[in-house]
Amino acid sequence: MHYLFTHLDSAWSLTLIHLRLSLVPVLLGLLIAVPVGALVWRHVMLRRLTTLAASIIFTIPSLALFVVLPLIIPTRILDEANVIIALTLYTTALLVRAVPEALDAVPAHVRDAAAAVGYTRIGQLLKVELPLSIPVLTAGLRVVAVTNISMVAVGSVIGIGGLGTWFTEGYQSDKSDQIVAGIVAIFVLAVIIDVLILLAGRLITPWARKTKAAA
């Protein structure tokens, strides 16, 4: 722990790298998964295929993907892009299953009401069904963000790991204090991001609070 307070400067710059590596994939994954999830939602076959593809992607170990990606796509082997692309794949794989499930959970009477007041199918999806699925999506995003933050640390094994660099450095120079500092820093970072996503989710769904208060 002492290490953390004596190295606040490098802690800050590593935290920024760590956040970039873990949260850019969350944003990219969200941007891919929501449209794709909404598109395949009504098509049984497409949805099954997406679920299958997502499960297979999820089975590939992260460290393996970090190493294999540069052999498939034109990135250099020790490039940040590999970590970002790999984590984007995981994020997308997890969210693309959550989106149709969240849409399923919209009650039938809400759908009927939306159709009755004259929403088109696309309008209904954008203005009624997707907003109502935000709480389920937020739950998925929290899991993904926290998992990514702890997965980025694994990247330090191949030289790109944000705060995980303290693990490999501490291990090589036999400094358990540095490793503990890294664990604490990553843990705190994950908890802060988790709470922020939770609060953001509540902020953009004010109706959830109102119905709870009314009930």
Partner: protein, 258 residues
């Protein structure tokens, strides 16, 4: 594609499978880390999940513990454990157990907590004790979710056990780490392909187990009595006015008979 060719050549050469550092030995080491860690986390997470799900007390604790453990970086815990306790089975077991507990705990807890209260009420009304309700009603109904948790846990542990190699331990991660270290990337690819294959294989097997465990389908053909209580409730509701044969002394014959 050159790397891929080299890696496949390596995998399909029989000589690379034997010996102390051969693929065979590495797979066994990998499965050993995985097996021990998953077994230990089952012993920790399942009883806690059963107790909290059954009593409904301490649910907040489960949610907090699951989220907190998920935020713990496995690599850091592993390297710290190696520095503290030296090489051996203990460091990977501790690190991977901490990784496997959250999905198992979440699966067990939500499996038990989400059993339809109508079913447990009916079981209680028929005179089952708390323990009988847990083992004969809640557990079989929660089994798919518990095994789903086991599936997720195993998958994450198999994938993450690769980092053990960074701490000079064995397992399939050796190919990944050594391959990068000596810049022979086809070796790293060998490790990546083998770990992915192992993960897909284990995941497929566990997916079949989850499918077999769906309650009421008889897919497991267990000797345990099948608690098809909701069917009986429906049956009784259809024959209102008639009191079912009921012997308050012994166990309910209909439940045992199934």
């Amino acid at each position: 594609m050159n790397f891929l060719q080299q890696a496949l050549d390596y995998i399909f050469t029989a000589g690379n499978w034997t010996g102390k550092a051969g693929l065979g030995a590495r797979i066994i080491e990998h499965l050993q880390y995985t097996g021990v860690a998953v077994a230990v986390s089952v012993l920790i997470a399942v009883p806690i999940g059963l107790a909290i799900g059954h009593t409904g007390r301490g649910s907040f604790l489960v949610v907090t513990a699951v989220n907190a453990l998920r935020a713990l970086p496995t690599l850091g815990v592993l390297l710290l454990a190696v520095l503290l306790w030296g090489l051996g089975l203990l460091p990977p077991t501790v690190a991977l157990t901490l990784l496997a507990v959250p999905p198992l705990l979440a699966g067990t807890y939500s499996g038990i907590a989400n059993v339809d209260p109508k079913i447990t009420d009916a079981a209680r009304a028929m005179g089952m004790s708390g323990r009988q309700v847990l083992t004969r009603v809640e557990l079989p109904n929660a089994l798919p979710l518990i095994l789903g948790g086991l599936r997720t846990a195993t998958l994450q542990v198999v994938a993450t056990a690769t980092v053990a190699a960074y701490a000079s331990l064995g397992g399939l991660g050796r190919y990944l780490i050594d391959g990068i270290k000596i810049r022979q990337f086809y070796l790293a690819l060998v490790g990546a392909l083998m770990v992915t294959a192992l993960a897909l294989l284990l995941d497929g097997l566990l997916a079949m187990v989850v499918w077999a465990s769906l309650p009421g389908t008889g897919r497991l053909r267990r000797r345990l009595p099948q608690p098809l209580l909701d069917d009986e409730v429906r049956l009784d509701a259809g024959q209102s006015g008639r009191t079912p044969d009921y012997n308050p002394g012994g166990p309910s014959p209909t439940v045992e008979g199934w």
